[in-house]
């Protein structure tokens, strides 16, 4: 439900959203959800609950079967300029160097060369990849590839980030580090984020709100407001409050898995 904070502006609105595939399988059914500007909302749930489908619907990569999706008051297709999608794999083009990968979007939009170079350089600096700007993706570690992928998403100055299990393939230490870096950028750039993960701890650490989905068909089962103080750092993970929130979310998630 909408948490009616004073001055909250709805950024992503889903109303009775249903997605059926051609084989009549129902991916998500009757999902209504409002995400306000500046929120970091994470979707947790068993496989088949339609977490990834929701991101595809919000990005307009996949059309809804029923209901409406509004992004900043527009249809998802029209709102694409505001949105960056980060996939589970880094999805870098192997034939381009890191800097040319990061500049891809601006290149496709025919942005001026000089501005592109400048913004790419600044973004690489922000994710600490300046030293590998001229390297090819195959020469990078998994964590560095993901950083490059994030830099590519941010270089177009998105208002909304859709992240589909971006750190799932990384080892835990790398994942924690990248989570912290992501929040540092989040506090500076103030996007609205929809984030999909399988990790309860990651969800609690990152989010302002955790949405737990149930499967077959995908629907909202629980919503948890995460009340951890900001800024969140490595120490946050050691706090009692964090532990309690993780326990609470785990319990609710377990209930959904047993259904």
């Amino acid at each position: 439900m909408v948490t009616d904070n004073k001055g909250a502006i709805p950024e992503i609105e889903l109303e009775g959203v249903t997605k059926r595939y051609r084989n009549a399988e129902v991916a998500v059914e009757g999902i209504s959800l409002t995400v306000n500007r500046g929120e970091f909302v994470t979707f947790l749930g068993p496989s088949g609950c339609g977490k990834s489908t929701l991101l595809k619907l919000v990005s307009g990569l996949s059309p809804v079967s029923d209901g409406t999706v509004r992004v900043n008051g527009m249809t998802p297709e029209n709102a694409r300029e505001l949105v960056s999608f980060i996939f589970q794999d880094a999805t870098l083009l192997p034939w381009r160097t890191v800097e040319r990968n990061v500049g891809l979007g601006m290149e496709l939009e025919h942005a001026a060369r000089l501005e592109r170079k400048e913004r790419v350089a600044r973004m690489l600096d922000l994710v600490s990849l300046s030293h590998v700007a001229k390297r090819y993706p195959r020469q990078l570690s998994g964590g560095m590839k993901m950083r490059a992928s994030i830099a590519r998403a941010l270089v177009s100055r998105p208002r909304i980030l859709l992240m589909d299990e971006p750190f799932a393939a990384l080892d835990e230490m790398t994942r924690d580090r990248l989570n912290e870096e992501l929040l540092r950028l989040f506090s500076e750039q103030k996007w609205t984020v929809l984030f999909v993960t399988h990790s309860v701890a990651e969800a609690v650490f990152l989010s302002t709100r955790v949405v737990i989905l149930a499967a077959h068909p995908g629907r909202v089962a629980h919503e948890i407001d995460v009340n951890l103080p900001w800024p969140r750092t490595a120490e946050t993970r050691e706090s009692k409050a964090f532990e309690e929130q993780v326990t609470q979310a785990s319990r609710l998630l377990r209930g959904v898995y047993h259904v």
Partner: protein, 264 residues
């Protein structure tokens, strides 16, 4: 160059010399007449004696094979791009590319010569036909097998279909294209020689390696025949290595096949 690779070269030379020695020994000990099996020295003499016509034949075949191969690359990539863009067209026409590959070239060559006349053009057309299928098949494969999320990424940037083709599908197909060219490079030489067997003299009084092979065979000049076979082999080999070089040039920076992975 490392000590190890020097040793490899040294070993190869030794083995090659031994093979030549065994060959000469077989000829000398059995007192074989040169029209049955000439020894390596007889072959060398034949090569030396007929060097101008040998080089001329080699040049003509190179011209035909290279022309046919180049045409098959241009046409093959164009066809593959059309196939990649329209799925239904691919499904309807793809069987014909397989047909192209299975039809025996020795059966096609006389037809082509019948239509285009005995000459360089006919032989070039024959090499073109025989080289085309591997390029179409491999390039189409590369254009179509693009990671779905990469397509999504381009769509998020509102990329046009043309941008997706040039910035995503074509570079993605580059390794496959080179695989196709490598296969076609070898068979284009075979196509050229086969065409010449039927076309005969492709210029007034002279012809490519295929023509010269027929001539040498009729004249029982077995030494020259050996020299021609050697030249044809070297030609196929050079085509292959030239393609390998361009492949390395285009892919060595980013593609796994060209260099062992360098981990961070």
């Amino acid at each position: 160059m490392t000590k190890r690779s020097l040793l490899t070269i040294f070993n190869s030379v030794i083995v090659f010399a031994c093979l030549l020695g065994i060959w000469q020994a077989v000829v000398s000990l059995n007192r074989l007449p040169p029209y049955i099996l000439p020894g390596p020295f007889a072959v060398l003499r034949a090569m030396h004696g007929r060097l101008p016509s040998l080089l001329n034949s080699l040049f003509i075949t190179t011209e035909e094979a290279a022309g046919g191969l180049a045409a098959s690359i241009v046409v093959g990539v164009a066809v593959a791009m059309v196939f990649a863009q329209w799925r239904w067209l691919r499904q309807v026409l793809y069987p014909y590319t397989i047909l192209l590959q299975t039809v025996p070239i020795v059966a096609i060559a006389p037809l082509v010569i019948n239509w285009a006349g005995a000459g360089i053009l006919s032989v070039t057309i024959v090499t073109f036909i025989i080289s085309l299928a591997p390029i179409i098949a491999n390039t189409t494969q590369g254009l179509v097998s693009v990671d779905e999320n990469l397509v999504h990424l381009f769509l998020m940037y509102k990329a046009t279909p043309l941008q997706i083709l040039y910035r995503l599908r074509l570079p993605n197909a580059l390794p496959n294209l080179f695989t196709g060219i490598r296969i076609s490079a070898g068979i284009s030489v075979i196509g050229g020689i086969t065409g010449e067997l039927f076309a005969g003299s492709t210029r007034v009084g002279e012809g490519g390696l295929g023509y010269a092979i027929i001539y040498a065979s009729n004249q029982m000049e077995t030494g020259y025949l050996f020299a021609l076979v050697f030249a044809a082999t070297v030609l196929g080999f050079s085509f292959f290595f030239i393609v390998m070089f361009f492949e390395w040039l285009a892919l060595h920076n980013w593609h796994e096949s060209s260099r062992p992975q360098t981990a961070e």
